[in-house]
Symmetry: C2
Subunit: 103 residues, 2 copies
Amino acid sequence: MTQLENVTVQAQANVYFDGKCVSHTVLLADGTRKTVGVVLAAALTFGTEAPETMEVVGGSCRVRLAGSEDWTEYAEGSSFDVPANSSFDIEVDERFDYICSYG
Amino acid sequence: MTQLENVTVQAQANVYFDGKCVSHTVLLADGTRKTVGVVLAAALTFGTEAPETMEVVGGSCRVRLAGSEDWTEYAEGSSFDVPANSSFDIEVDERFDYICSYG
């Protein structure tokens, strides 16, 4: 099971899209911020500010980056990058557990 | 903001009641397990195995312990205890962020 060690976790959750996406913020020892989260069955569009790397730690999803017409499926163990100030469409059939890194 | 420091966080979420409750498991340095989670607007019944202490770190809830007829409201900064092998009814109007400790 994927885990992040020697970190600080913020107890208040981040809730998006009426709870279709819930995450908790994690601070690494060096101050780097990540989030661990889950997207439940849904079709959503997320915007980015910083560039993001989404690492799939459970389940799967289909992703279409802004400006692309192609959907790509990502399963556990894979990851995808999203540019800064962009967006991506995501479709989840069951659930998609992730670690999101920024910048 | 309440946070847990020097911990390990498991990246896969715990999802209950179709996502009305989502938590992440946290391991303290001494091996103690806690969960940080959120309950969204819902009326639910949770069962316990180990005794639980629920610390309200955001939002509020109303709770009725098994065997009681009384509902008690808990707001941020308060906590409630649930015996082992028991259950409690919980009503949340907006959201209820918690840290759950076991045993």
